[in-house]
């Protein structure tokens, strides 16, 4: 009993409970079809695999967003940075920019990641050095980022690899980012695991995690203890921008095109929501990357299952918001207390 209680106090406990119940509900609604796995050509297919593959972007973003929120800030530019990253990569593969590279997918990926680092560093500069409020600082790229992406693609949707006559380069390496499999599992999951472990290592094996939490709780006191608050913030926004560029690569590889208007549109809200649903505080302080990833999975599974149940996409957004409210209430300590005291009162009466 003591063990269960301690377990339930862990931040990740309730998000996991919610995630598992969503999966179970889906299983009941589909009479078990939800849990079916098929192996085709040594690759796993199934609804759960879909959720993981489609949720890859969100999980990646949630890792960066968790850190930004933990310092008491936020990064609302991630969707636009995704668009920039996709635009850079696809335009290079397409030979539209830097034709001298010959459409090398590997170089294209490197350049897209560099663009993400640069965007993140810009955000970090505005927040840490210029001391702008994070929401305003990152709003600049939120708005301007899509314009920059349009400039890179010259205002077109850059599709890659459809017509070998126009685009002689085989972009299959690029497709692999979203569609590839390793050991039967989708490649986006590998990317998530890689960055999750990297972030975990960096926050737990160095003092970075402690410094981030300390800054999130009390930034003034942290700088009095000698923590380089500005540097930590700069690193975090740079990291968040980098994560966004990774997500942008997954997205554009999935649709085999860079669509500057729609890539990652409004996904920053889902990323913030993923952290909140994972039980993280938006006011800064304690954070758990694992919980945020579960939060991202919850959001993705809600979206996927609503669509699978035949809810039209427009209505699905409303349904999703209702589900999110319910999830947040279910995790709220004071709400649970209020409910249980209501029940107790009812029992007495």
């Amino acid at each position: 009993m003591q063990k269960v209680k301690r377990l339930s106090q862990n931040q990740i406990f309730w998000p996991l409970v919610v995630f598992v119940s969503i999966l179970l509900l889906n299983g009941i609604a589909t009479k078990g079809a939800f849990f079916e796995f098929k192996i085709v050509d040594g690759h796993l297919y199934g609804r759960i695999i879909d959720i993981i593959r489609n949720g890859g972007k969100l999980m990646i973003l949630a890792i960066g967003m968790t850190m930004a929120l933990a310092t008491g800030g936020t990064d609302i530019s991630v969707g636009s940075v995704m668009a920039i990253s996709g635009a850079v990569a696809c335009s290079i593969v397409d030979g539209r920019i830097f034709p001298g590279l010959g459409g090398n997918a590997g170089v294209a990926i490197m350049m897209a990641l560099l663009a993400g680092l640069a965007c993140g560093a810009w955000n970090g500069f505005l927040v840490a050095k210029v001391k702008m409020q994070p929401i305003v600082a990152t709003m600049i790229l939120l708005v301007a980022g899509r314009g920059i992406a349009q400039l890179i693609t010259q205002g077109k949707i850059v599709t890659i690899g459809i017509n070998p006559a126009i685009n002689p380069i085989n972009p299959s390496i690029y497709y692999f980012i979203n569609g590839g499999y390793i050991l039967g599992l989708p490649f986006p999951l590998m990317i998530v695991i890689f960055f999750f472990l990297l972030a975990l290592l960096f926050t737990k094996r160095t003092a970075f995690g402690l410094f981030v939490e300390s800054i999130g709780v009390n930034s003034a006191a942290s700088s009095f203890t000698g923590i380089n608050v500005d540097l930590v913030k700069l690193l975090i926004y740079t990291f968040s921008g980098f994560m966004a560029s990774v997500a942008g690569l997954i997205e554009s590889a999935g649709i085999k095109a860079a669509d500057c208007n729609n890539a990652g549109l409004l996904i920053e809200l889902d990323a913030i929501l993923a952290v909140a649903v994972g039980g993280g505080s938006l006011a800064g302080g304690r954070f758990s990357i694992a919980s945020s990833i579960v939060g991202a999975l919850i959001i993705q599974s809600v979206t996927t299952s609503l669509l699978a149940m035949g809810v039209v996409p427009q209505a699905a957004l409303v349904a999703k918001s209702l589900v999110v409210i319910a999830i947040c209430l279910a995790q709220s300590k004071s709400f649970k207390e209020a409910i249980s005291s209501r029940f107790r009162k009812g029992a007495q009466a």
């Binding site: 003092a207 410094f211 939490e213 300390s214 009390n218 009095f224 203890t225 000698g226 380089n228």
Partner: protein, 504 residues
């Protein structure tokens, strides 16, 4: 006061907060046409008394009479309606609105269902002229200096109700010239028959404008005096709670005269907040920075620790010239600084005691040299025991501790970083007597163990107990240094303003 006619009479006012008695039965009488200074140290109860008068707090006991009728203001608006206005330290204007809009905000004269701007501007101009200010009232408030803005606040307050005006530290954001202007305004209002309560920590200003002085100490009423009949040094003595005669007797502290080598020496250093500081902190010695609140003690500490880095002058550590640009560089030179505002600048509330204690050491070592969990636990346990921090476990959030225990944990944080110079700014403020004594003992023990300590406190008793040498500050500059022959009367004569007041 010949035709004394009280406008406010407070009798036996009591107020307690959870865990503390803020006012223990205070009497206070304000006459019409009088500027009455309300003085006392930090925590003496001045602001509580004012907040009761202006309806921010409700009193527990006692009565307040306005023109002989009992009153019970429930909120500041209530108080304003019956004629009591308060002007706070921070200038409380909407900077983006015009002066006229600020004066009439919330009670604009109407005409045909719309605001009558003509009257607003015309009346505002007349009001400001009445204060001797011929200004364009249609310009925004922030286009004027702090003094004029403060005057606009006072004009608004007196426009609403002119019977009683409370000025709470009104000059703290003003320059000396601006303050003079404000005093003229105060005198003009006095002529009109208003009663003014003046709260300030600038003693010179008290004597410049006040007719009478009421002193509070530790929530108790000490007395009311005519300003002309109370010498400054006696005033300070009453604020601090020592009879003047008692002070004047050579109350020399028999501090041990030993001091180690100089660890830190500051020569003619200036930061953005304070200028021309020279002092030396030695090993095995507690150096006190004495002076009233706002006299520049904290500013010196912040300069030394690189929070407001020195812009000119020389700072030497162990004889080596150094540049201290940030807290981290000060720490790397072996310094530590417990700031004054424990909640804002000290504790990291949501983190555990262990994390709070290890934080400075971790920052000193750098991001990539994580203090291992076992070492952190050992350090936390060590200091919890050594400083007798009362907590169920080292994993407790520090915000759940009492003030004294929080302070001990912050001191532990710095001791864990193993400093050679420890700067303590008001380490015992707001903590209970027991923890206070323990901290004082700790300071003396640490100095005995070879550490250099700079100790800042508003409590003279505490300073005398702990310090071997003392630098006294007044109005953001060093008024003098006391070595060996430290006595309360000498400190106070420096605080009060040099040799001339010491004579009286």
């Amino acid at each position: 006061m010949p035709n004394a006619e009280p406008v406010i009479t407070m009798r036996g006012v009591k107020k307690s907060f959870p865990g503390a008695m803020a006012l223990k039965g205070v009497d206070f009488t304000l006459q019409k046409g009088e500027i009455h200074a309300l003085l006392g140290e930090n925590g003496a109860g001045k602001s509580t008394l004012i907040k009761i008068l202006t309806g921010v707090y409700e009193r527990d006991q006692g009565e307040i009479l306005l023109d002989g009728t009992p009153i019970h203001p429930r909120n500041p608006q209530d108080a304003q309606k019956i004629g009591i206005s308060c002007v706070h330290q921070e200038i409380n204007l909407c900077p983006n609105l015009t002066v006229a809009e600020n004066i009439f905000i919330g009670r604009e004269p109407m005409k045909f269902g719309a605001i009558d701007w003509k009257t607003v501007n015309k009346k505002s101009y007349e009001i400001m002229k009445g204060f001797g200010l011929d200004i364009d009232v249609t310009k925004t408030a922030d286009s004027y200096s702090a003094a004029i803005q403060q005057m606009v606040v006072i004009a608004r307050a007196t426009e609403i109700s002119a019977k009683v005006l409370v000025l709470d530290e009104p000059t703290s954001s003003l320059t000396a010239v601006e303050a003079k202007k404000l005093f003229d305004t105060m005198r003009a209002l006095k002529e009109k028959g208003a009663g003014i309560i003046f709260v300030t920590h600038f003693l010179d200003q008290v004597y410049e404008v006040s007719d009478s002085i009421t002193i509070l100490r530790g929530g108790e009423y000490v007395g009311t005096y005519k300003a002309s009949e109370l010498p400054k040094i006696e005033l300070v003595a009453k604020m601090i709670g020592k009879e003047y005669k008692e002070l004047d007797e050579a109350n020399v502290r028999s501090g041990k005269a030993v001091s180690g080598e100089p660890f830190l020496s500051v020569e003619d250093a200036s930061s953005s907040e304070i200028s021309d500081v020279s002092l030396v902190a030695r090993k095995e010695e507690v150096l006190g920075l004495s002076g009233l609140l706002g006299s520049g003690r904290t500013e010196i500490a912040r300069m030394i620790f690189g929070v407001d880095p020195a812009l000119s002058g020389t700072i030497k550590v162990k004889g080596q010239k150094v540049k201290i640009k940030s807290a981290l560089s000060a720490m790397r030179l072996g310094m530590a600084f417990c700031p004054e505002e424990r909640k804002k600048e000290g504790i990291i509330g949501d983190l555990s005691i262990r994390e709070n204690i290890v934080l400075a050491l971790q920052a000193k070592r750098g991001i990539f040299h994580l203090v291992p969990r076992a070492e952190a636990e050992r350090l936390a346990d060590l200091y919890i025991e050594k400083l007798a921090i009362k907590t169920p476990s080292r994993e407790q959030s520090i915000k759940n501790l009492s003030g004294g225990n929080q302070q001990k944990a912050i001191v532990a944080r710095w001791l864990a970083a193993n400093p050679e110079l420890l700067i303590l700014d008001e380490p015992t403020r707001g903590i209970d007597i027991g923890a206070k004594a323990e901290l004082q003992k700790l300071v003396i023990t640490l100095a005995g163990g070879g550490m250099a300590i700079i100790f800042i406190s508003s409590e003279i008793d505490e300073m005398l107990r702990c310090c071997q040498r003392m630098v006294v500050l007044r109005d953001k500059s060093i008024a003098g240094e006391l070595d060996g022959d430290i006595s309360e009367s000498r400190i106070m004569s420096f605080i009060a303003g040099g040799a001339d007041s010491a004579k009286s």
